[in-house]
Subunit: 269 residues, 2 copies
């Protein structure tokens, strides 16, 4: 399996501290050594760093840990391969463009016998179930909403219906963002924390590193961190119940929907 | 204006030497300081490094100069902004997926009053004429060939026709690749060199750096480098005549077509 890390904030923030702990799990403190990747939204632009090497000793991961890129939405992934060989084309997160915005997706889980019909608008480059699910999800969004993005609540409802459809095929924890907000699906395991004033110290689980957020933040700052496993050992991480889809915006969870229902409900004419 | 750098090889090769010289032009030895980017194909996978900062003092560019990524197709760009503000979303090269392959595009030039009709399949995220031309080009390829990639010669002919159509709007030097081959259009200025046995020493124009390729290569290696301006001062760079489109494959120019013709020829029924 893999691990996910996401960040959603109300002001552009760097993820160096959290990524330092996360990076260690890619071959040092944990077994997720089949590649890693991280995507940063900066306005509408996106930077994606991918490496099919273990993150624990990747020069690129060392750079990302030490080079503060300020972003309101970040998605990172360390991989333990299930489907698709180790290789750059199978390394998460994946990126596509829809409605003139980049979309970023990373998945933790395993989908069995998932083979939806593709119309050619989004086609996987690699061989993972994850990229296939992402392509199908975007295809269905475009089919339903045509050439422009719906309002966030309607978009969220449709992503929930599509998530229910995909999750029937197996474990489907994911993070998804278009740069405006971050969608997080807890299929089996996902946690989050919101850091806001009064800011305190935090200490990593995976490395002996402490940060004093009170010295680095403003009172209005708000940062939501979403991760497969808690990254710090002295903060209260919330468990996200299995079968819940979340929308994070401006550093807060703003909407939640169940995804444990049966087959996708289709509108009748 | 901007500058382009491309590499096409018969075996995966690193571009550290050429990029070291190219990088200096982003604010040190030349004025192209409005961002830079580089894309590497590794098999079907792609890594894109983008930075809206000048390349001459970018930590990311320093990493790319020193971290040997082996690739058969590379496209790099340093920007002097004409259309679109300085920002990540306007930084070349651009990436999209078509027919289950990533496509990478970078442009040097300026297209005036270019406003083609888009059907929504590829929509620019930023505000450059360059990304718009790329999106339109991919849209037309998909419209003409449907869900699968034609053979290289047919693809090349269609890219030539589309290039003629776009080049009517202004200067349109570009590099384009899907990982199999590299297309290069000389609208006003582009040069190339093929390095092959017997390999010799090369010395950069922009920094006092010499490399001895004979110590680093095998006799069968073949590397084509394409650039706006010659990168070395002791090698014979070929000028690519204005109005020519080239296809490089396995480290060689394998096909050339004129693009100085009039309007696009449409097939009559």
């Amino acid at each position: 399996m893999c691990q996910l890390l996401g960040m959603n904030c109300n002001i552009p923030t760097d993820i160096c501290f959290s990524f330092t702990g996360f990076q260690a799990r890619g071959g040092a403190t944990d077994v997720h050594s089949d590649g890693w990747g991280i995507a940063f939204f900066e306005g509408k632009g996106t930077r994606v760093f991918l490496d099919p090497q273990p993150s624990c000793n990747s020069p690129l991961a060392a750079l990302v840990s030490n080079y503060p890129i300020h972003s309101k939405n970040v998605i990172a992934h360390i991989r333990k391969a299930t489907q698709g060989s180790i290789g750059l084309e199978n390394t998460h997160p994946f990126m596509r463009e829809l409605w003139g915005r980049y979309w970023i997706f990373a998945h933790n889980g395993n989908l069995l016998d998932f083979s939806p019909e593709l119309d050619g608008s989004f086609v996987p480059v690699g061989l993972t179930d994850s990229e296939l699910a992402f392509c199908w999800l975007l295809q269905e969004l475009r089919q339903r909403f045509g050439s422009s993005c719906p309002d966030p609540a309607e978009l969220f409802g449709t992503i929930q219906a599509l998530t229910v459809a995909i999750a029937q095929f197996g474990e489907f924890n994911f993070l998804l963002s278009n740069g405006d907000c971050l969608f997080a699906h807890a299929s089996t395991k996902l946690r989050y924390i919101v850091r806001r004033a009064p800011f305190k110290q935090a200490h990593l689980n995976d490395q002996d590193v402490t940060i004093d957020f009170s010295a680095l933040t403003n009172p209005d700052d708000r940062v939501a961190i979403i991760a497969t496993e808690a990254l710090t050992d002295n903060e209260a991480w919330e468990s996200m119940p299995p079968g819940t889809l979340w929308r994070f915006e401006e550093g807060l969870p703003v909407q939640t929907l169940q995804t444990l229902a049966g087959p996708v409900k289709k509108k009748s004419a």
